[in-house]
């Protein structure tokens, strides 16, 4: 039984409120969210992959996947029950007449060989077929405007002139902003992988190690858990204060601040976690400043409850860091939602008035970057509850000083 990720009551409510009759997903995350079909090609060929999922508001449990005919096996194995499929293109497969075919192979045989004529000639015909099957040849359809190619969009408008296609990227994000129990379970599972990978990288940390050595150790752990490497920033000393760079050959010194800002993906869900460590005693200011930034996270987490806005959470964080030891602290944001995208909504920033809702999951981060010194940065995963945020991160809340004989 494949998981239904879509939060149907929320989707129905928001679609109705915005006058949207259907959704047309055209990105990895939204196709997966609607159908449970994982189209790996979105990662391999991000500028060439055209795959879709369509749902009508009155049939949210019956998505229709529109995909290249190469996706049939994947659809057969993964799609939620009740999910339809319309393919485009042709593919050469042959059959061993002596073999007993599995269910998946039988589906592939029917779609790719026996009824190859039912596969549409091109992506626009397949999309039109999907919208017809969903009953969406008129009305308003919110589409993923950062995924659908402009030429496909233009041809589809011409093919189905009565459909009102409106940009839907932000609506998808609003639907996904509150996480179901299954999504929260996945977010915790990938968080455990991330935390384990940080511990693995720290086990090889000693004076003389390079950033690249630790990055590779982190990534070996991630792939060893079947997860996807997303970003691995591990920077030493002042390099942690200046921003992302490609060259990672810096060598660790005793007492130097190690800054992690790392993320990975498992079952579609992401992490984005930061921490500081040192091997041997650091500058005492590191510990003071780290504690101040953690006070900011705690204040923001406490504010993560219905009744507050994203901006309220922002102001709580900045005020607490300032009051707890970094009076000159400033930030443009102190975090963001996390889920199928590394940045889901809301953005915890002064201009974001999104109301906090029970079940929103956010990263809270209060980094302090000082050129010529270091990047001090804790970042935690917090789920909003009626009584304030619950921190899901299992890491120490202290600047960790590792004492190692070597």
């Amino acid at each position: 039984m494949n998981e239904q990720l879509l939060n149907r009551p929320r989707a129905s409510h928001l679609m109705e409120r915005e006058g949207v009759d259907g959704l047309l997903a055209a990105t990895f995350e939204n196709v997966y969210y609607l159908s449970n079909v994982w189209m790996e090609n979105f990662f391999v060929l991000p500028r060439q992959t055209q795959g879709f999922a369509i749902v009508a508001r009155d049939k949210l449990d019956r998505p229709i996947v529109v995909a290249s005919i190469g996706e049939v096996a994947n659809y057969s194995e993964s799609a939620v029950s009740g999910c339809g499929l319309i393919t485009y293109g042709q593919f050469y497969r042959f059959v061993n007449e002596q073999a007993q075919l599995s269910t998946g192979e039988t589906t592939v045989k029917e779609r790719v060989i026996d009824h190859a004529d039912r596969s549409r000639s091109n992506v626009v015909e397949a999309l039109a077929g999907g919208l017809e099957e969903a009953g969406l040849t008129s009305g308003t359809v919110a589409y993923d405007e950062r995924g659908l190619f402009i030429e496909t969009f233009a041809a589809l408008k011409q093919r189905l002139p009565d459909v009102n296609l409106i940009p839907g990227y932000q609506l998808f994000r609003r639907i996904r902003a509150v996480k179901t129990a299954e999504e929260q379970r996945r977010l915790e599972a990938v968080l455990r992988v991330n935390e384990g990978a940080m511990a693995a990288a720290m086990r090889v940390a000693r004076p003389g190690v390079t950033e690249q050595d630790m990055i590779e150790e982190f990534e070996r752990y991630v792939v060893s858990r079947g997860a996807k490497v997303m970003f691995t920033q591990i920077a030493f000393g002042p390099r942690g204060g200046q921003g992302y760079v490609m060259k990672r050959n810096a060598v660790l010194s005793e007492g130097e601040v190690i800054r992690f800002d790392v993320g990975c993906m498992l079952d579609g869900y992401n992490t984005d976690i930061a921490r500081n460590f040192s091997i041997g005693e650091p500058d005492e200011r590191c510990i003071r400043y780290f504690d101040a930034t953690v006070a900011g996270i705690d204040a923001a987490a406490a504010a993560m409850r219905p009744g507050a806005t994203a901006a309220d959470v922002f102001h709580a964080a900045v005020a607490a860091v300032r009051a707890n030891g970094i009076p000159h602290f400033g930030r443009t944001h102190v975090g963001h939602g996390i889920g199928l995208e590394v940045y889901d909504i809301p953005l915890l920033a002064p201009a974001d008035s999104t109301p906090i809702e029970d079940g929103m999951v956010v990263q809270i981060e209060t980094p302090y970057y000082e050129l010529g010194w270091a990047g001090i940065q804790p970042e935690d995963t917090v789920v909003a509850t009626p009584s304030g945020g619950k921190n899901l991160t299992a890491l120490s809340r202290k600047f960790e000083v590792v004492r190692r004989d070597s």
Copy 2:
């Protein structure tokens, strides 16, 4: 000294022929190609990252990067000499007044703190500034239509009404289709990583191993060489004949066909390699069919010379596979360019009349997929030369049978 990837004579020629005065890159691959600035955020936040490189045809050695202010350190370290930078947004960094700043830190300080007022208020203003600096406020600019957000495009058109913005994704691909010596060097380097990872995965292959075990071994090798995991399809027996699936818990049996179709990225350049193996004696047809498909690759490789078209290469491959033991063989294409995208142009397919040019690098693949049996698939990397294609792959050209005591 940072590498210039752009093939300037080719770019100049094609731009002139198509009446294009400037290029506006808006994707990872094209920004990197024009400027050598690696914007990791394109991988982390593919639907949210807005970063650009602009060049005018008469100043191809002076790209201008347009980026979020968070990219300053990266620009300072990586950009080709003569590259400009226009940022948008604000960022909080502080300075340790006691420290001696490095060159990179000094650049960050100047851009982010001392002259923060020069950072543009938003991405449209920064893009307009970049086009102005490049002298492209009128004339024709080919832009990356699969990267630029539609709302940014609309606002930019309004901001600079005299620029004729035309879709440029295909022009970028045509420019990149012939690889310079440096690009060929990178393609060979990442090929060695891919080959080593296949050997590592085969070292753990034995009856009882799962697909996932071998996938993880492959990926550990890739990340241990500082490369990026792109796709790791390792499938056993009939699963290799049905297409990509997400579940990878199949267990290997003695004599079963192992199908690799795998790729990784190093320094921006990709691989896409396939091979078959077995542990213990396979069905004799495997070896016969593998040899037939290799004959197809050899025939296609021989045809990879100026004077031929992509379609000619396709027909040579299909005819050779049919003549060498699989008379019912068929394919929609037998390969594609490889480079900064996993599929560069040309596509080796009957409808692609692209002339083959000296220095084009392609993957040639002649897979035979049989439901209920196996996926037989060799795939090699071949560079076109005046005397025919040169195969860059160092793997065996045989179906490899491993005999193992266990």
